[in-house]
């Protein structure tokens, strides 16, 4: 009898705790500010991106005109902290922007997103002097930046990176090659992930060091623009480092922290890549819906046909 009462009491207590923990308000509504920037992005994309996106895709050109306008309107580099001149937008607000630009053109959106990808490790781990220098200039001018991590044999397996940085006095010497680098040919600076020693036994959490490197540093060779199937407005290239000298002050975080920093960066940028994909999906849906309400086959708009029927016809 006593045991039963005790268990009943603890059950009720647990229910009460559960109730309390689930009483936080859940909402899908945006704030007024978020709605406003979503509307501003929608308008900008409808008037400045969509009318020209096919041209850039056809010509395989980097969309400088559009990016300069996007920069002037505040849509680029939105996560830079306010004490370096940025807007310091939250993740939801940033996702709204990238979803909308993804709706317009993922080639142009990718160029903007590569800036965020390059800036995020600096925001997370760079010293104040580096932040002022490299993040500050992104606000002042419409510059591009680049996240140089992927290599010919190390994409998803970031730990297989072979680009090597060797300490020499107060400098590091970088040698190696990076591949599929977005904004590689138009970047003002690169975030570069390097291996700091060749001992295979060194744990991943200590084996890499990250740097910020000016694109015009001696020893950097930028390859030809890669011709890809999609997102052709985006600039994607191979970058080669031959005896590139980088001062110690340009290390991002501490020596050995490179892998951790690169991974933490993705916590911020991956939702934005997803938002861009969602934007593209929304565009596909809108275009298909519009066409399905216009095109007639077998005496009626094709929107009136069941989708399964079309699949069967294949």
């Amino acid at each position: 009898m006593v045991a039963r009462n005790t268990s009943t009491c603890s059950l009720l207590l647990n229910l009460f705790r559960l109730h309390r923990s689930s009483s936080v308000n859940f909402s899908f509504d945006f704030t007024d500010g978020q709605q406003q920037l979503q509307e501003a992005a929608r308008k900008f994309v409808a008037e400045e991106v969509i009318p020209v996106e096919a041209k850039y895709d056809k010509n395989n050109q980097f969309p400088w005109d559009v990016l300069k306008k996007a920069h002037a309107n505040g849509f680029m580099n939105v996560t830079i902290p306010s004490n370096y001149g940025g807007l310091e937008l939250d993740m939801v607000s940033s996702a709204l922007i990238y979803e909308r630009f993804g709706y317009g053109c993922t080639g142009i959106c990718t160029a903007m997103l590569a800036n965020l990808l390059a800036e995020t490790p600096l925001i997370l781990a760079a010293n104040d002097e580096i932040k002022k220098k490299y993040l500050g200039r992104m606000i002042e001018e419409p510059l591009m930046a680049s996240y140089a991590v992927t290599e010919s044999c190390a994409g998803s397996d970031v730990a297989a990176t072979r680009t090597y940085s060797e300490k020499k006095g107060d400098e590091y010497i970088i040698n190696g090659s990076k591949m599929w680098i977005t904004n590689g040919g138009v970047a003002n600076w690169f975030f570069v992930l390097t291996r700091n020693n060749n001992d295979p036994k060194t744990p991943v959490s200590k084996a890499f060091t990250a740097f910020v490197v000016d694109a015009d540093a001696l020893g950097i060779s930028i390859g030809k623009k890669e011709i890809n199937m999609g997102q052709r407005a985006s600039d994607t290239r191979t970058i080669t480092f031959e005896n590139v000298q980088v001062p110690k002050s340009h290390i991002i975080g501490n020596p050995g922290d490179g892998f951790k920093i690169a991974m933490k960066t993705f916590d911020t940028t991956r939702p934005l890549v997803a938002a861009m994909a969602t934007g593209l999906a929304a565009r596909c849906l809108d275009e298909a819906s519009k066409y399905a309400l216009e095109r007639k086959a077998f005496g009626t708009q094709i929107a009136n046909n069941q989708v399964q029927l079309l699949i069967r016809e294949q």
């Binding site: 007024d32 500010g33 709605q35 406003q36 920037l37 509307e39 501003a40 308008k43 900008f44 409808a46 002037a72 309107n73 505040g74 849509f75 939105v78 807007l87 937008l89």
Partner: protein
């Protein structure tokens, strides 16, 4: 100088409007709304005059449900210094006519003492194109409608170029005056993200028509709203001679 700019929240011009099944109006729920395009142009002109330091303060005004605040925030982000929202319930908003808007704007003008009042030449939802003229009448101020250029001539006068049927007409108006914006007046700027953030700190006052001693009285009753008649689908002709033959058969040529 001070400028008052009236802005209206309307169904976005890119939206395909649908009539309610009960024919009392058009569907507005879950439909994209924006600032009336002509009001954007009016606001842009006020802000440009401010940038030329001819005008010192720009006050944006909107009459409508609580969502009109979104439109006013956009106006603040584009350069208005402060905003006034005259709030009306959703149901009453359906009964608002240009004369009522003009009466409220008149009271606001008497309180704010602007030198210029800018409005769009018409709202794309009701297509009335009446509010600016009515307001000029109520205030007994000069009006320059369908403006495509506005230039200050002296401390007290502006030269306004107007779009008229046969071309353009230039008029001189003495302040205080009312100007309505036509399409060619300017190209409105975007609300940039930094300005959207800064606009959050700007003053947005909330009022009611009763605060101005105005009661919502209808002079016009809408009996029915219907879709335009459906057009019969046309056909294709193969060449120009066939086209001519068809037109002759129909007696058009």
């Amino acid at each position: 100088m001070r400028a008052l700019v009236a802005v209206k929240r309307v169904i976005d011009y890119a939206i395909k409007v649908r009539v309610k099944p009960d024919k009392t109006g058009v569907i507005k729920e879950n439909v994209q709304h924006s600032m009336n395009p002509f009001d954007e142009i009016a606001l842009e002109e006020a802000v440009r005059l401010k940038e030329k330091q001819i005008i010192k303060e720009v006050v944006a005004v909107s009459l409508g449900p609580s969502k009109s605040q979104e439109t006013l925030r956009t106006a603040l982000a584009k350069g208005a210094d402060r905003a006034i929202h005259v709030e009306v319930e959703e149901v009453m908003a359906e009964k608002i006519e240009p004369l009522l808007i003009a009466k409220i704007l008149r009271r606001i003008a008497e309180a704010e003492k602007p030198d210029l009042i800018f409005l769009g030449k018409q709202a794309i939802d009701d297509d009335c194109g009446q509010t600016a003229q009515l307001l000029a009448g109520l205030l007994n101020w000069p009006q320059a409608m369908y403006a495509s250029a506005v230039e200050q001539e002296s401390d007290k006068t502006f030269i306004v170029t107007r779009e008229v049927d046969g071309g353009r007409e230039s008029v001189r108006i003495k302040i205080p005056a009312i100007i309505s914006a036509d399409l060619r007046l300017n190209e409105p700027r975007y609300a940039t993200l930094p300005n959207i953030m800064k606009a959050k700190n700007k003053l947005l006052e909330k009022r009611k028509p009763a605060d101005y001693g105005i009661e919502i009285v209808q002079q016009i009753q809408i009996l029915e709203v219907t879709e335009p008649p459906k057009r019969k689908s046309g056909g294709f002709v193969e060449d120009v001679p066939s086209l001519i033959v068809k037109l002759k058969e129909m007696g058009v040529v």
